[in-house]
């Protein structure tokens, strides 16, 4: 038995991207999404851009702790531990 999968427009797909990446689509929506992506270069590029955006946003994490802050924190800890 074949199930008819209703097509989905590119304009709709871009609004489903996060639900897709979060695993929040229903099985049917998921199938429609992947069905569309398989045949659409524009949406494939869009999905890749979104994944890349997430990866690059994660790079904002890199940052050093200032040495002064270290010393202060250790000082605070020793004060607390000795009470």
């Amino acid at each position: 038995m074949s199930v008819h999968i209703a097509p989905i427009a590119c304009r709709e797909l871009v609004e489903l991207i996060t639900d897709y990446l979060e695993g929040a689509l229903s099985a049917e929506q998921h199938a429609r999404f992947e069905n569309h992506i398989a045949g659409c270069d524009g949406c494939t590029a869009y999905l890749e851009q979104m994944r890349e955006t997430i990866r690059l946003t994660g790079r904002l994490r890199e940052q050093q702790i200032s040495p002064d802050a270290w010393v202060e924190l250790l000082h605070a800890f020793r004060g607390w531990a000795s009470t």
């Binding site: 427009a9 590119c10 996060t18 869009y46 851009q49 994490r61 702790i65 270290w70 924190l73 800890f77």
Partner: protein, 221 residues
């Protein structure tokens, strides 16, 4: 044979966090250093969302650690240790922001409801036989050199795009995509529903993507 008394339940804690909590309660300095090493930079970044300057954010982080130390003996472990620490941080930061009379982001659905992810002009208009398909499709970034993607300038484009978001979108994307929190942790921390968290994340990521696309295409034009 008598069973030893059951250890207190810490349902929210991983074995790793359990170890850190026990060590902190034993006043183990290395455990504290391990925790601060793991979270200090993150605490300062998250505090920056609420307070005006880096100096104040560092203050807020220091105050948070004091709160952690004071509270650790009574910590019930109902949430993860990380969620608990960041809840102390956000409460401390909000109090501090109020004192400085800065506006504080509050979770609201209105925040999430602000237009499509992609400019409608990029799609074929209604009436066209292929209405809703890309008129000007995005192009992949895989031909761009990694050095360009990871440059300081690209980072500042992302940072600026996040700063321009409505407050709750900003909180969600920073916690999820910068700090690496799970959706469950973000929902617990910001008291958002599952759907609302996802909508806010979607709006935020879509706008950051659009800013990156603008920047990267002008760079290579």
């Amino acid at each position: 044979m008598a069973e030893p008394p059951a250890p207190p339940a810490f349902p929210g804690l991983s074995p790793e966090e359990r170890r850190l909590v026990d060590a902190l309660r034993a006043r183990d300095e290395y455990a504290f250093m391990e925790l601060t090493d793991r979270y200090q930079a993150s605490l300062v970044r998250v505090a920056m969302m609420y307070v005006g300057s880096r100096a104040v954010a560092e203050d807020v982080a220091a105050e948070t650690w004091l709160g952690v130390l004071r509270g650790i003996d009574g910590f019930q472990g109902r949430s993860s240790l990380r969620t608990w620490i960041f809840r102390i941080l956000t409460n401390t930061a909000k109090t501090r922001a109020q004192r400085e009379r800065r506006s504080i982001p509050f979770a609201s659905l209105g925040d999430g409801d602000d237009g499509p992810a992609v400019d409608p002009d990029r799609f074929l208009p209604p009436g066209d036989p292929a209405a809703g398909a890309w008129a000007s499709p995005p192009r992949g970034w895989d031909d761009l050199p990694e050095a360009a993607l990871l440059s300081a300038e690209t980072r500042s484009v992302i940072d600026a795009a996040i700063d321009q978001l409505p407050p709750t979108q900003r909180e969600v994307i920073r916690l999820r995509d910068v700090e690496g929190f799970s959706s469950g942790e973000v929902r617990a921390l910001l008291e958002l529903s599952e759907t609302n968290q996802r909508v806010l994340l979607h709006r935020a990521r879509s706008k950051v993507r659009a800013a990156l696309e603008r920047y990267l295409s002008e760079d290579t034009a």
